[in-house]
Amino acid sequence: MKPDDIIKLAERDLNLRRSYKYRINVCCSSGCLPFGALKVLKEFQDAVKEFAVEEECKVARTGCVGTCYLGPVVVVEPGDYLYQNVTPEKAREIVREHITKGAPLKNLIYSNETFFKKQLRLVLRNAGKIDPFRIEDYISTGGYSALIKCLTKMSPQEVIDEVSASGLRGRGGAGFPTGHKWNFVARAPGSPKYVVANLDEGDPGVFANRTLAEADPHAIIEGMLIAAYAIGAEHGYIYIRAEYPLAIQTLKRAMKQAASLSLLEGDILESSFKFDVKLRLGAGAFVAGEETAILASIEGRRATPRPRPPYPATSGLWGKPTLIQNVETLANVPLIINNGGAWFSRIGSPRCSGTKCFSLTGKVKNPGLIEIPMGIALREVVFDIGGGIPDGKKFKSVQVGGPSGGCLPEDLLDLSVDYESLTKAGAIMGSGGIVVMDETSCMVDTAKFFTDFCVDESCGKCVPCRVGLVKVKNTFEGIIRGEGKVENLALLKKLGNLIQETSLCGLGQTAPNPVLTTLRYFEDEYISHIIEKKCRAGKCFTSHKEASRK
């Protein structure tokens, strides 16, 4: 295939899409599947046949719309009518009334202006709109045109310069400028070079990367291809959690389809550029998302991090220069190439351009997957998009950044969502988890929960993380048993700071965040646990009693 053939294919498929009067998008991502999305899909397919509207109505299996709290979710185009909690019976009704008679079922339609109004869907541009199992769907919405532009009109250095100009920063959490990283790898001596797409989304409470892979796998692959072209890489790996079977299946199929259109492997689009991608499955290790640990895991070893330098940019997989990027970062790349770095740099806040995907969960009315422009306030995320706290309860805290993110109190809700503000407050951007807690959550218990997680997931290589975190955990257990002393608080602070400063990798360096932020913002809860032996949320001492009864 040549670039022209891809453009022709896009036109053909677009015409096909336009030939339908209606399109029913049925969300079949991991959020909607357990609610019976496949049965709903089947019912739609049967119903359009039965009502003889097959010619004018296309039923498509799509990825996530974002409103996971309404599943199974169905969107009918044109008009983007969003139907909630669709059952097979409702599916039949929708076809009968909406499709055949043109009368949308008002009582089943969900309208929530605020959930969508404050969002900006760039990375998730195609999520819920295209069939992830059809490469034609992606191509007809402009997919792979950025790759064609790179291969036909731009030199590798021009691609890197465009990405630098965009101000894009790594979405895996650390926020390193992407253009800089590409320059390092491009200039590093040695060959072959590698591109690793990091989809090891091990953080509990985070599912943004999975949703992206399930909804729009080709955006990730196109991003990898452009990165590979820019830095001169020949081989790539997508490292994905084995816990994400649907995302794995979607990516596998996408890779096969891309190869069949000569967009992967061999001479890509009949140019001299060659690039192949392999999928590597993780096996349940949170630390494997760390950039040196992921390399060890791809090489078939225990996923333990190593000291840097040398950085993976100069010495990565098998000692060769390697570019490691989160999949969300990669999915931004085609947009930057198509619209220009200057366009991208105007989105979001001045220091942080672009958007960020977050999984919004916990005690919030509208949990789901959201994408927001950088720089909007946390309050808007929790109360406008999230709809606030359900059941008339009071807001207590919001945790940003996964298990090693900080827990922030109400008076910090006006903080803007960007790397620097979050870090200053003791939280992190992390891989994009926002968990809202109400008054029924105990902050001591919560900090202990995250510490337990980090103890479990610590790889054991460096002492501060391996020994220090266990010491923190034991101290918490003492407090929850009612044996806490006021001195414990100073010890927790000292240990926390020490672990942060001396651990080898990001896991240890951020693991004390929940402890330190809860101490900083919710010290009174610790005090009441220690002095009054009381847990205001009613979590701690009762669960201890239960355990001792057992």
């Binding site: 991991s30 959020g31 599947l33 357990p34 609610f35 996971c68 709290y69 599943g71 989304e201 091990g202 953080d203 509990p204 409470g205 985070v206 599912f207 999975r210 084995a242 816990e243 994400y244 590597r280 499955l281 993780g282 096996a283 349940g284 290790a285 949170f286 895991s297 791809i298 090489e299 078939g300 070893r301 225990r302 996923a303 999984s359 969960t361 916990g362 005690k363 949990p367 789901g368 997957l369 945790q399 996964g402 298990p403 988890g433 968990v435 809202v436 807690m437 959550s441 919560t446 929960f449 995250f450 997680f453 479990d456 997931e457 790889c459 669960s543 239960e546 355990a547 057992k550």
Partner: protein
């Protein structure tokens, strides 16, 4: 290399043929160890000493290395799971929504601790860190079915239904 030549106590059955096929596909490369372990677990249900020795011979890796890798990653099971498995998601969202109380109740009611299998081998209770279905928290996986928005009663009923005749000892 024929399967028999490895003398590891594994029976020459269909599963071994399939495992051998995957190892050949990976050209006996050491870097494919994780893939091979995944396949072995898929075929046999869990990993035991015989499998470790077989894989270590096939990939020409020290058996300590194979064991070290398998024990490092949480997904690899080293013990035979029960007839039925119930897996609780202990991700942050599920924690905030109170999954811990459900776990303790199941532990007490069915006399099985997390990570273990009941004495009669009929029920295993596992914990996983986040299946990524946080909007429906708390989540429980009963055998292969994901149950979202789980309540204590619903989970208990599911398990009782699975175990049917109630042979698992309850307190």
């Amino acid at each position: 290399m024929s399967p028999e030549s490895l003398h590891t106590g594994l029976k020459s059955d269909r599963r071994l043929v399939l495992l051998e096929k995957v190892i050949t596909q990976h050209q006996y490369q050491k870097e494919s160890l994780l893939e091979i372990l995944h396949k072995a677990q898929e075929l046999y249900g869990y990993l035991d000493k015989d499998l470790f020795l077989y894989i270590s011979n096939a990939l020409d890796l020290p058996s300590s290395h194979v064991y070290g890798v398998a024990t490092f990653y949480n997904l690899f099971k080293l013990k035979k799971p029960g007839t039925h498995t119930i897996t609780f998601c202990l991700g942050t969202a599920c924690f905030v929504k109170g999954v811990e109380q459900i776990i303790s109740a199941v532990e007490r009611a069915f006399n099985v601790e997390r990570g273990e299998t009941s004495a009669d081998g009929r029920l295993s209770l596992f914990i996983t860190r986040c299946i990524g279905a946080c909007a429906m928290a708390p989540n429980v996986i009963v055998d292969d079915e994901v149950v979202g928005g789980a309540s204590k009663e619903a989970v208990m009923n599911k398990i009782n239904f699975l175990l049917g005749d109630g042979k698992v000892e309850t307190r």
